[in-house]
């Protein structure tokens, strides 16, 4: 992989910062939707270098953060079964459920494995037909095609010991819900580039028009993020509210048609709970009826789950951009990456963890 340095060039960054500073005339709040963008902003200190009028609001786009607690508890219950090999991406393993996390399940003898691709879980199932292999299929539209491919392959190979616990979430309904909430302060969105690599940009057009909000499809390297901010400010200052593609090297307007066909085949849209936010209608994907045989939630009856969310945690408001992580009274004291109370403190993409990781000096001197 090349072309990394090009998107970190300090001289080009300086030019973008300067243009942003010259253009902005009044306060604007821009939400970066994706946790990967939050990470890039905080890690590189982009927000420190922007004019004071520009506020970045960190959005709900971290799949670890928004996976509902009920789903985490269900995953923990399935993973604890002696007949199950439970496979997950790495950063789901330390997400706190009501009482424990997947690491605790593993330390108590559960067979919990980190995989790097859902297809690895299919291979495991094929290699070990006597065990039930379950893959935790979380994420936004970005991870959905590979997860869908796992189910398709499991069917092609005739595997009856593979299933997936699906908790996919979708970006456009979340933007719609935020803008319709009445409490949103967001003036423009940086849409998640890799989501659009899969899905294309068309579904954002009605959102930009209905809510009169610029939506700039943005990448993840520092210069990508800066260019997204620059284009947002240019639109805002000119009174425009359009969908703009600032990530053309990865995003085509039509997205990835082959992936989208498979997604249409494997999933169906459903209502989805977002942790800390609540139920958003038609904001998730679940396995379509044709693939229900691979649904781990149906295959494993784990009984009633007593879901228990800590009251003090303000993750919900953080995820909606209503408070900054360090405005929560638990931040850095009761709640740290070592002892997370809410999911945004867990993943490196989570806004609370990003603040904790990179901002404590500043936070300390303020407090």
């Amino acid at each position: 992989m090349k072309y990394l340095d090009e998107f970190h060039d300090p001289a080009v960054a300086r030019g973008l910062f300067d243009e942003i500073a010259r253009t902005v005339t009044q306060p604007w709040a821009i939400m970066e939707v994706c946790g990967g963008q939050t990470h890039s902003i905080i890690r590189n200190g982009i927000d420190q270098l922007l004019p004071d009028q520009i506020e970045l609001i960190h959005g709900p786009g971290c799949p670890v953060c928004v996976t509902p607690l009920e789903m985490i508890d269900r995953a923990l219950a399935i993973a604890a079964r002696p007949d199950v090999v439970f496979c997950s991406f790495g950063d789901m393993l330390r997400v706190p459920g009501s009482h424990r996390d997947l690491f605790s399940v593993k330390a108590r003898g559960g067979d919990v494995r980190v995989v790097y691709s859902p297809l690895d879980a299919v291979e495991l199932a094929e290699a070990d037909p006597d065990r039930q292999v379950v893959f935790f299929g979380v994420g936004f539209e970005t991870t959905a095609p590979a997860n869908a491919m796992a189910v398709v392959q499991a069917r092609q190979r005739g595997l009856d010991n593979f299933s997936m616990l699906v908790s996919h979430v979708l970006v456009p309904p979340a933007i719609d819900a935020l803008m319709s909430s009445g409490t949103s302060r967001v003036d423009a969105f940086l849409a998640a580039g890799h989501v659009c690599t899969v899905m294309g940009t068309a579904e954002y057009e009605p959102l930009a028009a209905r809510h009169e909000v610029p939506i700039v499809v943005t990448g993840f390297e520092p210069l990508d993020v800066l260019d997204g901010i620059r284009r947002s400010i240019l639109q805002l200052e000119a009174g425009r509210s359009e969908v703009e593609n600032a990530y053309p090297r990865a995003v085509r307007p039509e997205g990835n048609p082959a992936a989208r066909r498979m997604l249409d085949d494997v999933y169906e849209v459903c209502d989805r709970q977002w942790r800390g936010i609540g139920l958003i209608p038609r904001s998730g994907w679940q396995l379509a009826p044709d693939y229900a045989a691979f649904d781990a939630a149906l295959r494993f009856d784990v009984g009633e789950l007593a879901v228990d969310e800590p009251d003090e945690c303000r993750a919900g408001e953080v995820l909606q951009g209503l408070v900054k992580p360090d405005e929560c009274s638990c931040f850095g004291t009761a709640c740290t990456p070592r002892t997370p109370m809410g999911a945004p403190m867990v993943s490196s993409e989570g806004a609370c963890a990003a603040y904790y990781q990179y901002r404590r000096v500043e936070v300390r001197s303020d407090g």
């Binding site: 300090p10 590189n44 950063d91 996390d101 690491f103 790097y116 070592r338 002892t339 904790y356 990781q357």
Partner: protein
């Protein structure tokens, strides 16, 4: 107390992390060399050992108050090696077991003399594999100029070990006049790293089951005592050294900042990161600052000696890429701050357990 679980990063690297508060059992993160490991030492081992551990120090090797013929003091360390796979590009568990313990001694300024070797073997292990590991150890020890003087072998039932674990302990002599300790770090000290970071961790990841990816990278596993001797030759007053193993350069800086009670500031773009490491970290969502090395050190040296030390390091084969990256400061004590390429700042934290690959 010596850093007792080197190499765990490669194995557990991906599966442990930061569990919930009040763990009742050992989780993989306790072996990760981060905060959980430190808590285990502080809250379990030291209290349990009681008065018997009153001399224990949070450094790579203990320097004992024992007189040695010809002057100097005796240094002592031990380390276990549990890397998987056993063979990886640029090295194997046997070489690591020699280099790692030699390097722990070297970080105290000691000239390594002798190592012990203890093997825990799993029933069913091919003798050919054990032979290759042992041969590698012999060759590495010979090249490093240390003797393998005693050892032990145990076998556990199949399924109760991961092929083979090695523990080495080592002794060496710290020359008169050399005193390397985090407590000697002073504000104003120059911070020097001995070369490109992230090679070992990425090389091992590239051959891990389920994650194979093509790379030309090879582990940087190498003995560092020769480099340290060259540095001490030009500046006997070097304040502290740390080899950047588990947790990477970032963890080394954090530990030294905390132990010394100083702040650390460094210029992130000055840290040498090979493009292949940067790329691998980019697509795995990892930070090169927290990737393990097995042949790199970071040094805190008096500012006026910095140029001379860097020059001496570059003249040694283990330090050709040495760079002055930062400075110890008398503010934000115990905290490490990086200045980013864009001119902003960020805090570098001690990892809790290990980094986890991101979902997307």
């Amino acid at each position: 107390m010596a850093d007792g679980n080197r190499g765990a990063v490669e194995i557990e690297g991906w599966t442990c992390p930061m569990p919930l508060r009040d763990q009742e059992r050992i989780v993989l993160g306790h072996g990760g060399g981060g905060q959980l490991s430190a808590e285990l030492i502080e809250h379990l081992f030291l209290p349990a050992f009681g008065a018997a551990a009153s001399e224990a120090t949070p450094t790579d090797a203990a320097v004992l108050g024992l007189a040695v013929d010809g002057g100097g003091r005796l240094a002592f360390t031990t380390d276990s090696y549990v890397v998987q796979p056993l063979f990886f590009p640029g090295g194997n568990i046997g070489e690591l077991a020699v280099h790692g313990t030699v390097n722990d001694l070297a970080m105290s300024g000691a000239r390594p003399l002798a190592l012990s070797t203890a093997f825990v073997l799993e029933e069913g292990l091919e003798l050919e594999v054990l032979g290759r590991v042992a041969t590698a150890m012999g060759r590495a020890a010979e090249q490093a100029g240390v003797q393998l003087v005693t050892g032990d072998t145990k076998v556990v039932e199949r399924g109760h070990g991961d092929g083979l674990f090695v523990t080495t302990a080592g002794i060496g002599v710290v020359p008169p006049g050399v005193d390397l300790a985090p407590g000697r770090i002073r504000p104003g000290d120059a911070i020097i790293v001995s070369g490109e970071i992230g090679l070992h961790g990425v090389a091992v990841l590239s051959v891990r089951e389920g994650l194979e990816f093509g790379t030309e990278l090879r582990s940087d596993s190498a003995p560092l005592h020769g480099l340290v001797a060259a540095m001490l030759d030009v500046c006997p007053d070097i304040h502290a050294l740390r080899d950047c193993t588990r947790g990477g350069l970032g963890a080394s800086l954090c530990e030294l900042a905390r132990t010394a009670g100083v702040g650390v500031e460094f210029h992130e773009p000055s840290v040498p990161v090979p493009e292949a490491v940067r790329s691998a970290c980019g697509f795995l969502g990892l930070d090169p600052l927290h990737i393990a090395n097995e042949g790199k050190l970071v040094a805190f040296v008096p500012a006026d000696a910095a140029d001379e030390v860097v020059a001496a390091m570059r003249g040694h084969e283990a330090g050709t890429g040495a760079v002055h990256i930062g400075i110890a400061v008398d503010e934000h004590h115990g905290t490490v701050v990086a200045r980013t390429a864009l001119g902003a700042t960020r805090v570098i934290d001690l990892p809790l357990g290990e980094q986890l690959p991101r979902i997307c």
